[in-house]
Amino acid sequence: MQQKGYNRRDFMQLCAAAAAAAGFGQTGLAQVVSAFEKKEKPAVVWMHFQECTCCSESFIRASHPIVADALLDVMSLNYTETLMAASGFQAEKSLKDTIEKNKGKYIVLVEGAVPTKDGGVYCMIGGKTAESILQEVSKDAAAVIAWGSCASNGCVQAAKPNPTGATPIHKLIDKPVINVPGCPPIADVMMAVVTHVLVLGQIPALDSLGRPKEFYGRRVHDTCYRRANYDAGLFVESFDDENAHKGYCLYKMGCRGPVTYNACSVVKWNEGTSYPIQSGHGCIGCSEEGFWDNGPFYQHLPHFPGFGIESTADTVGAVVGVATLAGVAAHAVVTNIRKHKVIAEVHTEDQQEDQKES
């Protein structure tokens, strides 16, 4: 789309289409666009709630651009408890000043879920509950990005029985949210989403779960280099067996690649060094809602209606089906068909979208 050289009117229409698809209203969008039309570095605040800081750690692993350049040139990151110089009163001042001086123009990045049980006492910062801080900070934001599975879908603290009422942020604020799930998300995916918003000045095209299609539009399984082994019925039967050495498919070791939408097998991790499957372990599906309750991790997924190949897998060795199949429902249309059909449909879908946009 960039290559086609869109003018401002086209750009606005495109944004409107993307925003409408994502539930972003016209008003919010105007604020986003106006924020980027000015030359100054956009103000960004990064909130931390119920999290383990793996998203912050992942973000600083970005390689293009490296995080130092992003902090010096792309954005003015005025609040992040992990890296900021100020503490206590001075830290709170940085947050307050940013919000007041940049009404409607600043970006909020949220790392962590928000506990809602018992008046919110399970996460308090500066004596205030996470929920009250989230509301205060997001009220006048131009855009909100949910980092990682915690903010996007609740992640580990929301796993059964969710003791603290951990809640993803899109359920708490009256504002559209860009969800960037994963535990953590891939560093360069995080950087790309930020860049998409801050440099292109656009809300990326999102799927029905608010995830950028750019990185969450394809299943790990469909882009995995071991996929040919799956299609051929060649499987690892035990860790470090002969088949593991040969790089056969990890489906029978519990791999969640077939139900996981993420960019791991394309972008890969740590500047393209590897991804879980390449290093011998199945995907645990860490970017899918409810993945912690879609286990045990080493039990393989049940049959996919429409796929011929699973029956072959089952005849190769003993199989115990998993009762649940979380994460598939939203994408049933795409998942329950053969690979070539997937590709064909995605083509059609893209063409339809192009027509809509023009």
Binding site: C52, E57, I66, A86, G88, E92, V121, C123, E271, G295
Partner: protein, 570 residues
């Protein structure tokens, strides 16, 4: 008398609040409070023990992988399986990689700004900075043009509002470095930020990703095969070797020289921040199997009262040694509220009795934290790099003694200087240097195994739950970068029946116990001078010297008290 509140304490992992009482410019009392809880132990109940590494790994993304290791060790201890030597080497490589990464990131990105005045670096003469740097480092980037360029960037950054560096305590009288040293440190802050993404590629090679690489009960998930393209082959091993060489250079030519240069201007801080006098280390880096503790690179043990002539043994399975108290924590016990419970018999009923948010102080509340209070034989213990070095030193380990003595010599300070904020920060550097040396050893040993094709990475004898005893229990001990970490597990019918974690920051950052004994954070703040009440950089220095990790230390929760093994008093 003034009560200072610092919340949020930033440049740490998690949510920490510190309240300190200051009289005549000196801290006379302190309260450390963890203000976030997630309830992971409750979530673990009933799940497959082989999945626990992944769940507990999510306790912390900064010290990523330490909980995964503690978890697989706990399960392996419970079900009775040992891992192949090659898997042990890979685990050691991943752990020593983490030590080097984590300590360098802590020094530059979480701790340096307590000592380095970034705004003052603008006054430096880049040429003088280059000349000065050449006197203590061979790092070839340290040129005049490099420091000039960094200074230009910082100037531009300062003009646009300073971003993450805004509202720091810049210009505070406690900052003592000359402008040139500030500039060198700021330049290396940026270099370290770029370098740190490199060394973790070692985790990506063996564990598929970082943060949160993959682990496996019974070994490691990757296979080594120099005849296959899809396994860990020569190309992958070369990648690891390159990263080790880069890390070795960064540690020896940047981190350690900077640490010593900065420390030499802050010798005052060898007087403050000592706090407790008891030190605990579980030991780390098994070389002949996890069960053979005497094969560890770092020994296991306790030093009491700073008595370096005695090292006491530690038994995590003895119900009388490690216990947790809740006298000052937002929990309830069914029996004696002031008794301590061993983790295998632990109760974790949350009971928040603090002020209703929003609140301004925790003053007057007997209970003031979501952290429980662990004790070893009723003694508060400091854990972390300093504790490891002290236990290693007192145990007479030659490599530990040599590096400690030579560093004390370079700084011209006595052994007693170790017991301080400065000692703690310096100890972290020495800990990283030791880990760097061992990382090279482990890699060389791995290559020997590759040569002889002794590269099995997985022991599947006890993979199937049907091969486990109906009921079993285990403990997994790890010396994480931040200190002594342990997971206690009970397994019944192939499922987790109870799971308890006692982590480094719970030891260091917990509230008072039943006897009102303070833990390390609180004890170490007492006696520290505070020059400006509204800019308490001194508090931040000492707290940061522990490298707090709050998400790790608060994770317990069981509202119904179900599934928890406990002594019943009903």
């Amino acid at each position: 008398m003034t009560r200072i509140v610092v919340d949020p304490v930033t440049r740490i992992e998690g949510h920490l609040r510190v309240e300190a009482v200051v009289e005549n410019g000196v801290i006379t009392d302190a309260f450390s409070s963890g203000t976030m809880i997630r309830g992971l132990e409750k979530i673990l109940i009933g799940r497959d023990p082989r999945d626990a590494w992944a769940i507990t790994e999510r306790v912390c993304g900064v010290c990523t992988s330490v909980h995964a290791l503690a978890s697989v060790r706990a399960v392996e201890d419970a079900i009775g399986v040992s891992v192949p030597p090659t898997a042990e080497l890979i685990r050691n490589i991943m752990m020593s990689t983490l030590y080097v990464h984590d300590h360098i990131v802590h020094f530059y990105h979480l701790h340096a700004l307590d000592w380095v005045d970034i705004v003052n670096a603008l006054k430096a003469d880049p040429k003088k900075a280059a000349e000065l740097a050449a006197t203590f480092s061979k790092w070839d980037k340290n040129t005049t043009s490099y420091f000039t360029e960094v200074q230009r960037k910082i100037k531009q950054f300062a003009d646009s509002g300073l971003g993450i560096f805004a509202n720091g305590y810049w210009g505070h009288p406690a900052y003592k470095l000359p402008p040139e040293v500030n500039l060198i440190a700021v330049a290396h802050y940026l270099d370290a930020l770029e370098w740190q993404k490199e060394i973790v590629k070692i985790h990506a090679v063996f564990g598929g990703k970082n943060p949160h690489p993959n682990y496996l009960v019974g070994g490691v998930p990757c296979s080594i095969d120099v005849d296959e393209v899809a396994a860990i082959n020569t190309e992958r091993l070369n990648l690891v070797a390159k990263q080790i060489a880069m890390a070795d250079e960064f540690l020896n030519e940047v981190y350690i020289p900077d640490l010593l240069a900065v420390a030499s201007f802050y010798k005052d801080w060898a007087k403050w921040g000592g706090g407790l006098s008891n030190y605990l280390s579980y030991g780390e880096y098994p070389t002949k199997g996890y069960a053979q503790v005497d094969s560890f690179k770092y020994p296991r043990g306790v030093v009491l009262g700073r008595d370096l002539s005695h090292v006491l043994p530690v038994n995590p399975k003895d119900s009388q040694e490690i216990k947790e108290y809740i006298s000052s924590s937002w929990y309830d016990y069914k029996g004696d509220k002031d008794a301590g419970l061993h983790p295998w018999a632990g109760e974790t009923d949350i009971n928040y009795t603090g002020p209703k948010p929003p609140f301004t102080t925790l003053e007057g509340f007997e209970k003031y934290s979501f952290l429980k209070t662990p004790r070893w034989k009723e003694n508060p213990m400091e854990v972390g790099p300093l504790a490891r070095l002290i236990v290693g030193y007192a145990s007479g380990r030659a490599d530990v003694k040599e590096i400690v003595d030579s560093t004390l010599g370079k700084l011209g300070v006595p052994v007693g200087a170790l017991f301080s904020t400065l000692g703690r920060t310096a100890a972290r550097g020495l800990d990283a240097a030791l880990a760097m040396g061992w990382l090279k050893e482990f890699y060389a040993e791995l290559m020997e195994r590759v040569k002889t094709r002794e590269t099995s990475t997985f022991n599947g004898e006890r993979w199937e739950p049907s091969s486990w005893p109906k009921e079993c229990e285990g403990v997994g001990l790890v010396e994480a970068p931040r200190g002594a970490l342990a997971h206690w597990i009970k397994i019944k019918d192939g499922k987790i029946d109870n799971y308890q974690l006692v982590v480094p920051t719970t030891w260091n950052g917990s509230p008072r116990d039943a006897k009102k004994q303070r833990s390390a954070f609180e004890a170490s703040l007492i006696g520290t001078p505070v020059a400006k009440l509204d800019e308490p950089v001194e508090i931040i220095r000492t707290i940061h010297s522990f490298d707090p990790c709050l998400a790790c230390s608060v994770h317990l929760y069981d509202p119904e008290g179900k599934h928890i093994h406990q002594v019943s008093f009903e």
